[in-house]
Amino acid sequence: MKRQLQSSKAGILLALAGLLMAGVGMHRGEMSTVFEKAVKICMECIGIG
């Protein structure tokens, strides 16, 4: 039971760390790089160029 609770805490802590990392990335402006790539047809992804 103790081990299970520790694993659950680990999952929650990792999820919070993920939110923090995502926040850092957003602050650095990475989201705009993702957006610019996603709103143009990705020729490589569809197998054209």
């Binding site: 993920g18 990392m21 995502a22 990335g25 996603a38 490589e44 569809i46 054209i48």
Partner: protein, 294 residues
């Protein structure tokens, strides 16, 4: 038991279908051969869902990761890695079982009857490591190292491997745009050959792309044992009959490893267990299963 198994499986497919429709709900894109360009594309989706699909309203995390790694100004993708860490720590490979449109595509293909379905084969265990190699080489290393004179790397996984991009983006966009049809070459042929291979393999083998190739599955598999959403085996209730392992299409031996990296949380084992020894566990609490296996 079989009726219960089928009902649970189809309930899961309904959830998968609703999610696939929600995340690909820009239906006008399919009619006009163009893609959605709104602000939702800032956000990553948890499953493998090509952002060049005409219906896509969000971004593919693997494509987004390569875009950031391959950009000239960023090399470590904090935003996408943070998103994957968040989704993985909460759900693990539940994403593969429920929230991946390409997973649904393979699930449905595997329902096509064929006399000799392949459960396992000699190189199966070794091939399952391939997805980690693909993640390291095609998603991280190549876009980081093989760059043009501006310091930009291509999304090598999307370009050379991803059959989801061909299915969701390549086929509809090429069919709907004459200019694209005139531009197709060897790469398009190669990617369609890979898609065809994936389709044939999916009829014979359950989710071959997820088992052997998918870098997103590789990422989420690392979180299965610590994810907030995970399984728990009641050792006292378990009678060791092996019904769970026999029902598992991913060939996981659940008695030995209840939170195996290969488990996609489809819930087949929970439905198969005659004594209800497999539970969903969440932050220190557990609850019994229902027909979706959730």
């Amino acid at each position: 038991m079989d009726k219960r198994k089928d009902a649970g499986s189809w309930n899961r497919h309904k959830i998968q279908a609703v999610w696939a429709l929600l995340t690909n709900s820009y239906l006008i894109g399919f009619a006009q051969g163009r893609i959605y360009k709104g602000s939702l594309k800032n956000l990553c989706l948890p499953g493998l869902s090509c952002y060049s699909c005409p219906g896509a309203v969000g971004s593919c995390p693997i494509g987004a990761m390569q875009a950031v790694i391959g950009s000239w100004n960023f090399k470590f993708p904090f935003y996408v890695a943070g998103f994957l860490l968040f989704a993985g720590a909460l759900m693990g490979r539940f994403v593969c079982g429920y929230l991946c449109p390409f997973g649904l595509f393979q699930d449905l293909l595997h329902k096509i009857p064929f006399p000799k379905k392949i459960k396992t084969f000699p190189a199966d265990a070794l091939l399952r490591k391939l997805k980690y190699v693909i993640l390291a080489v095609f998603v991280v290393l190549l876009p980081m190292v093989v760059v043009d004179i501006l310091g930009q790397g291509a999304p090598y996984f999307c370009k050379l491997i991803c059959p989801a991009g061909t299915l969701e983006g390549g086929l509809p966009l090429v069919l709907l745009n004459e200019s694209m049809r005139s531009a197709i070459g060897w790469l398009y042929v190669w990617k369609n050959a890979l898609l065809l291979l994936t389709i044939v393999a999916s009829v014979l083998i359950y989710r071959p792309f997820c088992k052997y190739i998918c870098p997103l599955g590789a990422v989420y598999s690392a979180f299965n044992s610590v994810a907030v959403f995970r399984y728990q085996l009641d050792q006292e209730a378990c009678i060791g009959c092996g019904a769970c392992a026999a029902s598992c299409e991913m060939q996981v031996d659940l008695i030995k490893h209840i939170n195996s990296p290969e488990c996609i949380r489809c819930g087949a084992c929970k439905r198969a267990c005659p004594v209800g020894a497999i539970h969903f566990r969440q932050a220190g609490k557990s609850r019994q299963s229902n027909t979706t296996g959730l």
